[in-house]
Amino acid sequence: MFQINKDETLIDKALGGSERSWVGLVKRYEGLVYNYCLRMTFNSSDAMDLMQEVFLAVYRNLPSYRGQGQFKGWMMRIAANKTTDFLRSRGRNPLHRAGEVTDDSFDNDGLFQSRASSHTIDPASHLAQTNKNQQIKEVLNKLSDDHKQVVELKFFQHFTFEEISQQTGVSVNTLKTRLYTALNKLKGFSEIQNAL
């Protein structure tokens, strides 16, 4: 994809105090991070909080980014760490109802609400889209946090095992084993394809 300003250019300007460059950098990657957080937390509110934490950490650690590797990989490593911390803290929270996938697009007695869009979307298409995403969430929800993370980074972020290893600090062999185990756990969901 053609980018007017490279990530490094925006980073340099943001480090120099350019608010506009920082906003440009955030807008470039916020969709990626938000959807990642959404699939990991199953909740748009948590996803939003988590995304903000990720970008706050990115901003704070931006001076230490030396241009090693791609910025996306470096940022997703922070996202992975933040997500791990978030899921752990949520797991310790007794108020969190583990295992329940919340579809926060339908709240307040079934009234359709979308926090995401300020523009008009066809309700039917949005419903179909929401159903697909909901089913994906349900699939991912069958997995543990570690397995969910490797599935997310492998299938949704399209990172290689080496890149995932760099981001998570887990060895490649362990990641492959986790992926194999995760896929075996989803055997009962082979009907997913038919359902979709």
């Binding site: 969709g31 994906i136 075996n184 394809q193």
Partner: protein, 234 residues
């Protein structure tokens, strides 16, 4: 059949992407055909891969992208603000209450409400003008004295130069006259000497002629009459 799941675990990713060597691929193919678990894993992998592409990207809700990211502005100390506000207030009050501060010989006079009358202002202007005139006079006098003194010095210098020059000219004239006089005297003396020499020569010649004459005369008389006459010497 005994299946080496580890081999599938190791290479399932590359197998699907088609990056395996023919030998390993053949071995994986054999396992997938004969091992139910590996076959199922392979199917799950493909389904998950397909499933991931069906995710509909969600728009990011509006949020404040710089709220936490922008460094907080440096907080300035409050005394500066309070000081600026106090100064501004004081200036406004001075204008409103027509504060006047007059510096006189006896000290400062601070008044409010414009108590300075026009007469006072006129007196003040007159005194200022008088002091200004006095200062001008003093300045003019001092400048005049300086100019006169400079002119006097110039005159003295020129007079001394003129005297010196006149004296040297007169000395040169006298020297010229004396030289001329001495040369004329020398010429005259030379001419006199020549005349005297000429006269002396003539006298000598005359004497010789007279002597010769006397001798001839005496010789003539002696022979004739044993002369008794004697010639007179000059």
């Amino acid at each position: 059949m005994h299946c080496n799941h580890q081999l599938v675990i190791e290479h399932i990713d590359s197998y699907i992407e088609g990056n395996l060597s023919p030998e390993v691929k053949r071995e994986i193919d054999h396992m997938l055909d004969n091992c139910k678990e590996c076959h199922s894993t392979h199917q799950q992998y493909l389904e998950m891969h397909q499933l991931s592409h069906q995710w509909q990207e969600q728009d990011t809700p509006d949020w404040h992208r710089v709220k936490y990211a922008v460094r907080p502005p440096v907080k300035q100390s409050n005394w500066l603000n309070w000081g600026a506000m106090a100064t501004s207030t004081m200036a406004i009050l001075m204008v409103v209450f027509q504060l006047e501060i007059v510096s006189a010989d006896r000290g400062l006079t601070i008044s409010f409400g414009g108590s300075q009358t026009e007469e006072k202002i006129a007196n003040l202007v007159d005194s200022q003008l008088a002091s200004y005139k006095q200062a001008l006079d003093v300045s003019f006098e001092s400048k005049l004295n300086v100019a006169l003194e400079r002119q006097d010095n110039l005159s003295k210098i020129r007079h001394a130069n003129w005297i010196e020059k006149n004296r040297s000219e007169r000395q040169q004239d006298i020297k010229f006259v004396m030289t001329g006089w001495q040369s004329q005297r020398y010429e005259d003396q030379k001419q006199v000497d020549q005349q005297l020499s000429y006269i002396a020569d003539n006298q000598i010649e005359n004497n010789q002629a007279i002597n010769q004459l006397f001798q001839s005369v005496s010789n003539g008389r002696g022979r004739k009459a044993n002369s008794s006459l004697r010639p007179n010497k000059l």
